[in-house]
Subunit: 324 residues, 2 copies
């Protein structure tokens, strides 16, 4: 079973076919960065059109069982998530509404302060806000997973503690392997995994040691080390694959409507766009290279299966349904 | 089995308890008159709060099988509908979105011209519009029922013919029994029922012969006559019960935001508010009186069961699911 728990590509039939070539049973796709509710609904609508157009390749994923259906029917189940709480605006009632529409993950922040928590690019992190506490409780009730991939340390640790259900860092790597601002320090990863949560390993070059030149060996050794440190049951893939996107999209991700000035985020004035992917992970067709790499660094077949999809499958089973 | 296929009350625990007292297994409730998409979502949210608060009385109905669940668990399944296409604005993609959120009926018009068709208060009826044809096709695809209760004659007949699935007049009576503007002429009812559609009988006094003074006998004789004329399989109840509403609500229904002048609709300057209900049908507790009345006019038990709920149940089974 292969589950990639974070992608944001410029979707096309080509990419959906590559998911099939790569044997990817489920993908969690981002459908909002800065969109408000109505704009996010337009993105749900766009996906409905793709589902109608390519029913032999993809379908909308609601529950863990849809991953099994995907395997049985040779298709890819698409699960939805937001990288910002902007889709729920200031309205807690929208938490259940977006879950009904299919959202399964929501970051409490992108890079900036949100109504709920603090993003990792802010200089001060005041932790989870008053509304944040209410929204976490409501997310727990309906089965919308708290994702802290882009959040600041204190906010993340507090979210892991406040949440009554496990939370996730869907796409990031350990900071002590690649000291990017977006990668996570040991105590943050511990807070998430010790509360039953998940860490999804990112293949976005800015999150990799030596960026685009990162070797498969280095990436897989890092995963093996995390398995020893945090327990293999808490690890999965969240590739952060942003395939075929024009550079205007990374600008939308970074700047949205919140600034009139350019903010390069993880990039720079010299490298403002998407960096090239590592040679051994071009796109959805290359998950086999990760499996081979994990085997080469000595991980057992059942451990590899856990990281490549079984752990996310278990997490989906336990965390997407409303609380009884 | 008892299904009331149209109510719009000032919802409260009292009314939900009266549904249980009256043995009502399912109610189709109106959640939009003139609301745009975002405002309609607020109404879905309000219902989510009621479902959370009164789980022992009501729950959200999605499919016909939920009516059976309601009977088995002693609760009432609530199905959603709109009396206007205003919730989908000018966006055909919202048809699937509102169905996902739980909408199962949508009127193509309220009393006025809409983007889709003509309402029964307009002087000219140009039939189904360009967008109307597209939206009917999309409603057929996703399982959102076309409701023409407030539409003009030509528009209704065209909708019945254009639609690839049966349509409904959820709440109205025959015009030759009570010649209200909102009641339906013989050729209109025939167009709907001959295409497999349903007529739901209204108990709103403006739709009754002698209004609030209408007798149960007259109402039930009218139903028996319709059974002979259109076939009992196409008949149900759509009481149009508007319980405990302040008069400001009937003003919203009639005027919305489309006029600065008061429009009294079916009322008048002398009687601007909701008229009193007939003594034998006060509210949800009195469906037994309708059954007794139908028996008194000679209808057989299985015919009565068909009208009181079995027909709507069959209609739900056939028309709420997406087309395979």
């Amino acid at each position: 079973m292969r589950i990639d728990n974070l992608q944001y590509s410029n979707w096309s039939e080509k990419i959906f076919r590559q998911m099939r070539e790569g044997g990817v049973d489920a993908v969690h796709v981002t459908i909002a960065y800065h969109e408000n509710f109505r704009e996010t609904v337009l993105n749900f609508e766009q996906w409905n059109r793709w589902f109608e157009r390519f029913p032999e390749l993809i379908f909308k994923g609601h529950w863990a069982s849809d991953v099994d259906t995907a395997r049985e029917t040779g298709r890819t189940a698409i699960f939805f998530g937001f990288q910002n709480p902007s889709p729920i605006e200031d309205d807690i009632g929208l938490v259940e509404i977006v879950h009904t529409l299919g959202a399964r993950f929501m970051q409490l922040t992108y890079n900036n302060q949100s109504l709920l928590a603090t993003g990792c690019y802010e200089s001060e992190d005041a932790g989870i806000t008053r509304m944040g506490r209410q929204v976490i409780k409501e997310m727990n009730r309906v089965g919308l997973v708290v994702d802290m991939s882009h959040s600041a340390d204190r906010s993340t640790i507090e979210a892991a503690d406040i949440s009554q259900r496990p939370i996730a860092i869907t796409h990031a790597n350990p900071h002590d392997w690649a000291p990017a601002l977006r990668n996570k320090k040991d105590d943050v990863i511990r807070a998430v995994t010790e509360n039953g949560g998940m860490l999804g390993f990112s293949l976005y070059p800015h999150h990799l040691k030596h960026k685009s030149d990162c070797s498969a060996k280095s990436f897989c050794e890092m995963i093996a080390r995390c398995a020893d440190r945090y327990g293999v049951a808490h690890l999965g893939i969240g590739s952060d694959l942003c395939q075929d996107q024009p550079d205007s999209v990374v600008e939308w991700m970074r700047v949205g409507r919140w600034s009139k000035e350019i903010d390069y985020g993880e990039g720079s004035a010299e490298l403002p766009g998407f960096p090239p992917m590592p040679s051994w992970f071009r796109d959805n067709r290359d998950f086999g290279n990760v499996e081979t790499g994990l085997s080469a660094v000595g991980m057992a077949p059942e451990e590899i299966a856990a990281v490549m999809g079984d752990n996310w499958h278990r997490f989906y089973t336990e965390n997407f349904t409303p609380r009884g």
